[in-house]
Amino acid sequence: MSDALWQYSATDLREMIQSRQVSAVEVCEALINRIESVEGRSGGLVQQEDEIDTRHIHAFIHPLSLESARKKAGSIDEMISRGDDPGILAGIPFAVKDIFCVKDTRTTAASSILKNYVSPYTSTVVERILAAGGILLGKTNLDEFVYGSSTESSAFKPVTRNPVDPSRVPGGSSGGSAAAVAAGEAVLSLGSDTAGSIRQPAAFCGVVGLKPTYGRVSRWGLIAMAASLDCVGPLTRNVKDCALVLQVIAGQDSKDWTSVTEPVPSYPDLLSDAAVHHTFKGLKIGWPTEYFEDPELINPDESADILRAIERAADLYKSLGAEIVPVSLPHTSYAIPAYFVISRVELASDLHRFDGVKYGHRTNQPVDDLYEMYEATRTEGFGVQPKQRVLMGMHVSSAGYADQLYDRALRLRALIRQDFHRAFEKVDLIMAATTPTTAFPLGGIFGDTVQMQNADRLTVPANHAGVPAISLPCGLDSSGLPIGLQLIGPDFREDRLLQVAYAFEKENN
């Protein structure tokens, strides 16, 4: 039995561990064995890809923290045998996108400018999961500084592959986190979502991914991409696990001024049959016409399998008593252009600190002055994506351009937010596809920044609006690749998203 333990959900495993059916150590070893059989080499610097790498997942980055994981699992077992409360996630092995700081471990954001950076502190979300008894296995790979939608831009190779089809990308930027959960290398993982970086890889790899409401989960210790859009959330095997993790990580944090005091409900308890049944009474689900018909957003031929799957999901919801109501989100097609501008202005500023003065890479070349040191350090340390984005960010926020570009982008963002607020006056939540395509082949669009950014066109509106959105598996396309159903709710209604997602998952299995 213990060999199959890697397949279980967190919800099941915690029951089994706490009732002493299995030990935390057994679960931990099962996950480690699984990693050994499917992971291959984890991401490192300057690694040429070999043929053998094409058959492995490479979800992780840097050496794994297996010794501390085993030690923690042992201490969880001791706590349970002593009768102490070991926490909600006691003994659950998890993985963390390498964009979160963990004290005394390497935190690189998949960039060689931070290749040797060891963080002096731990992010709030990781701290909360550790405090709840979670067992950290290691850091997962991502696009450099999260700039991408395929995990291919990481400075650490081999690139992560999609466990469903290793010739394809896992999505991104939280590709390693999605792949680890999908491949059974971690029971759950943490990701970050600025334009769809949790939901899109979740959809590509066939797992559940949640972007909570902006402010619902602390960003302390999350290396910023665009601070006004960044959200932290879980990637899990099922909806119940998602509720479990959200309950642990949500809630105000004195270290993040933008985190909110809104009370945190007990999300897992809201997934009882009775509670879910109650929610479906009179439930109105919005069907945003632009997401299905706007030619700038969706090509009906290219997305035929996906659209069919979403329609089937709508039929299922109707059968559960929900009403499907067409709504309009007229500014959706501006979401990507506005995002291009806003994210790049913020990230160009956020990347200033990587200057070789305090930590991280510093050039070895002889330099005459401070500015030459900056130039050489940043030229050597940053990959193509950060360089491209910094250039654009500096351009659009410079005097004379900011009014025309940045300020207009902010106005568009306000309009997109208004679209959602108006829609939520009529409906309780909105359903759509998570992505316009399923997982694309490795190298398929890598290098084309615009097309890569466009992969986020159905997910980024929720980031602009700050509202919560979840992606859950809803079938396979004709090539057998997972399709993601996206549910978007009003501010702080993660409870409703989880209930409606759970109803689909339960009926569909």
Partner: protein
Amino acid sequence: MNYETVIGLEIHVQLKTQSKLFCGCSTRSAYERDVPPNRHICPICTGHPGVLPRPINRKAVELAVRLASAVRSSIHPESDFDRKNYFYADLPKGYQITQHGKPLAEGGFIDFILDGIDQRIDLNHMHLEEDPGKSKIEGGVWLVDMNRCGVPLVEIVTQPDLRSASEAAAFVTEFRRIVRYLGVSEGNMEMGNLRCDANVSIRPSSSDPLGVKTEIKNLNSIRFLEDAVNWEIKRQIRVLNAGGEINQITIAWDDQVKEGQLSREKESEADYRYFREPNLIPVAISEAFIADASIDLPELPARRLRRYIREHEISPSDAVTLIDERSVADYFESVLMIYSGATKRAADWVRNHVLRALNDPENAFNQINELPVTAEYLAELLDLMDAGVISDALGPQIFQKIIETGRSPKQIIEQEGLRPPEEDDLIQIIDQVLADDPVTVRRYREGNDKVLNRLIGQVMKQTRGRADAQKVRSLLIERADAL
């Protein structure tokens, strides 16, 4: 050609808080000289990856609001934070958190007196920001000290209303007094608690449009400010008279050689790419908060100065000495409330004895509230002298005794037996002196008035200084003439 000078000032003031603006690190290095570099730092103020500014230091907002309120600046009910982006070794995040679009307060004015004339300079605005660190090159190596990173600053920007270096100096002198009166800053310019940038331009007299301005950076003493501005005015006049034109540059003042160093680049080329700091929510400032922050706002020093000169008829230079430190002026006024004699006498005693005692390195105290001679004791001492209970000559001696023992003037007079002798006793002493020195008495009686002083001295010696010298003199004359 005659030129008119136009000066606007930007003054940075470190707010007197225990901790930094956006983290819990100590601000000690702003006040103590022996703090080792990079001692009071954390991941937040050194810009580590993933950190966020903590909710703003409330005390800093309170102090800034107190200052705004005192200078009649109108405080925005909500103000925002922006990032000012630039690269420098002592700016760990690569941007400074400041207020650009919607500052804490706008408008307001500062009054001061220059050469007896009332002046009013309008303020443009006032905003909160974080201090950068310090850096220097030593032996070809860049050294960075981040202790100062994140120390709360308020920056005030004046309108370009100042017309001379001495006006600018008088303004900063007054501003420094104000922040110290309010308790919002130590205002120690040498420590960098208060730093000044001056924007200087000149234009032909009677011409309206402003000339091109240059900015003199980081002037950390009022004398440097005055010297630097005068130097720059002369330089600009020279350039214009030679047919050249002024470039918008920055100038670093070198006090060693009394010369400015001109930057190569034009300041207008700097683009800070300001945008809203997404990690901070706007600061809301309620009427109640303003009321709390403005509690016990003192009378401002310039007003006090005017009052001393006009109501108390204290000379302007004496009045400046009295108002310079709020605690001294408060002390002086406490003395006045109790003391029934002349204001001038109290003022002289505060200037001559109290301030001297404070400045005396022999004394263990340097704050007026630690001085054993409280305002009550000084008033008591002055009243005792006025009433003739003790002689004026004994005043300084008793003052010193109070410092040494902490006892009241009356206690000291009793215990030391310093009351003047009764008239009968005094006459007895005088008669004895006259009897003991017939030679001097004879010379006096022959018309040599000068020798009288020797006799007075002998009487004073006999009475151990307790007797009133005037009284001794008249009694001596009376007794000697009667011989």
